[in-house]
Symmetry: C2
Subunit: 340 residues, 2 copies
């Protein structure tokens, strides 16, 4: 487990896309995001108090999160110097960069000397089992998508938060680096060895018997030729009772692959249900989540209504319009089934 | 590349199932299998000349293949002692065991001192790309299955060999440890990191323009809840023009999972075609391969005839009855298409 609260690192970043992980934390975990660290040449802000390392530690921060992306996921000299200073001020370091903290001798030496922890959230734990497909107790929802990066993490987090607001037990199960930092736990599924994909999900979403829900963060797409194997193993390991389909209505083609068009919603629903039924014959779709961030509000609402009518499924932009209708559908049918 | 010819290790094995890799090499690569090494307490033989390490080296052997499996894939003291003696006699060492040769300091030291190579065929090469799904030149056949271990490697090797006998260029593309030792090259797909499954297959079966065929060894099954992610990525990376479905007609349940029945042939064909069409819309099934090793010959022939009639696909036990009818189907349609 990564100790909280966090100090969120922006460093020298000037491109908003580069601080995606820090922003995700500020948005979804304001309760543990105590401040932001940025150099004078960084024009970005998360609207958190700006702190240096000593001030953050004094304010209670326990971990500096290097929540930025740069070309190639490299751990540059600037990052290393800042991480060393943060450790000297009393902070642990967490990173989702491809280049591992634990592969940098200066950081390893300083952590050992100062008694600090280095968290590489892209390193899977060493004891992941082979999946067994055995039915386990508990209710699970998985987000799936027409493509990568269409809002699966945001949707899953919104669903978890909305379920909790209704007084129900709900746990977000992270499968990517930003999600892991938000939850403080999870599995970096893209870094797991191929034979262990479904087993990793069985491990991260174990049996539960409190009548609560596991909300599992989806990855990739069955229609993405680079990553569909990950999505397949995720569906099998999750044994989902419910699916929510995430879609970006203005995406021109599959992410990174201009030669692959996006699949339609109907075929994506069909393919995901087929794959999911292997480990849970009763799986059903309970909603569609659209990322309408580039659309005007009336246009976005009209699109949600039109897709909702076409597929007979509650449709919303979770971040913009909430997920209440999707939750109604999720919680409705089992109740009726229980009465009947 | 692993240097040949091989000396095949049987060691102290007494269970025929434990020498599967050595036997696969003796069966499919008699041309490079120069002898067998076994201790006096080993009752098994591959019907190759029995040689000690010095005699094997003098006869031309270049690599000792530890083609055995034991509980947990461990590299026991007996194996280490034998490997050290083999290196002293001039041989490199190759192993598909889970426990890596390169993780054993005594072997690493001896290899460095003597100028020998240690080949851990379960270690993927470090430069595997993310798959891109781009159409590449060449013709590809992939074996798929109702389950794991239903004869996909044997079928693929039989197809490659039969194509060559017809005078056509054909390359076996290995995706498992035994196949890699047989081919001298390939990718240990189950050990590749999840995000790189399809990319690993794109790499191992690159563009070819000699009108020959790549015959790609399948892994797992879309219906195996532990490994379907691997099978999915393999289908996408292979972009197969042709599929051959492999099936064990007496398998009682999915390998290792008594709670999962085997899927039917029809649904397995359907699922594989659906997944494969993402990267090759023209994929077709050209045959069914049955493992009838436990059946009497008349019974086996009757079963092949019955399945052939039911599905309209050439059906055979490749190892027992050959693959000529499957090759006829494979080579027939493209020819007609070319004429038309």
């Amino acid at each position: 487990m990564i100790e909280t609260p966090y100090l969120l690192y922006l460093g020298h970043s000037s491109d908003p896309a580069d601080i995606k992980t820090s922003r995700g934390l500020a948005v979804f975990r304001p309760d543990i995001s105590i401040g932001e660290y940025r150099h004078d040449n960084c024009p970005l802000t998360l609207n958190l108090p700006r702190m240096d390392f000593a001030a953050a530690h004094a304010a209670g921060a326990r971990t500096l999160v290097l929540g930025i992306a740069n070309a190639g996921g490299k751990l540059g000299e600037d990052l290393i110097v800042d991480a060393l200073a943060a450790m000297a001020a009393g902070l642990d370091i967490a990173s989702g960069l491809h280049h591992r903290l634990n592969a940098e001798p200066r950081l390893v030496e300083a952590a050992a000397r100062l008694g600090r922890k280095l968290h590489d959230v892209r390193d899977p734990r060493p004891d992941i089992p082979i999946g067994n497909g055995k039915k386990r107790a508990g209710k699970r929802l998985l987000t799936v998508g027409t493509d990568c990066s269409v809002g699966k993490m945001y949707t899953t987090l919104c669903l978890a938060s909305a379920l909790e607001k209704r007084g129900l037990a709900a746990d977000f199960r992270a499968t990517g680096q930003t999600g892991i930092l938000i939850a403080g736990d999870g599995v970096p599924l893209d870094a797991v060895v191929a034979d262990f994909i479904s087993g990793a999900i069985e491990q991260v979403s174990p049996a539960r018997s409190d009548d609560g829900w596991d909300l599992i963060e989806g990855q990739g797409s069955l229609y993405h030729p680079s990553f569909a194997g990950v999505s397949t193993g995720l569906l099998h390991g999750a044994q989902p009772d419910a699916l929510v389909l995430c879609h970006d209505p203005v995406r021109p083609h599959m992410r990174g692959l201009p030669h692959y068009p996006l699949p339609g919603i109907a075929e994506t629903l069909d393919a995901n249900l087929r794959v999911a039924r292997l480990t849970n014959a009763d799986v059903r779709v309970v909603g569609i989540a659209l990322n309408t961030s580039t659309m005007a509000e009336d246009e976005a609402r009209a699109l949600c209504a039109s897709i909702e009518a076409e597929f007979g499924l509650p449709t919303s932009d979770p971040y913009r319009f909430g997920v209440e209708t999707i939750l109604d559908r999720l919680l409705d049918t089992p109740l009726l089934a229980a009465i009947a």
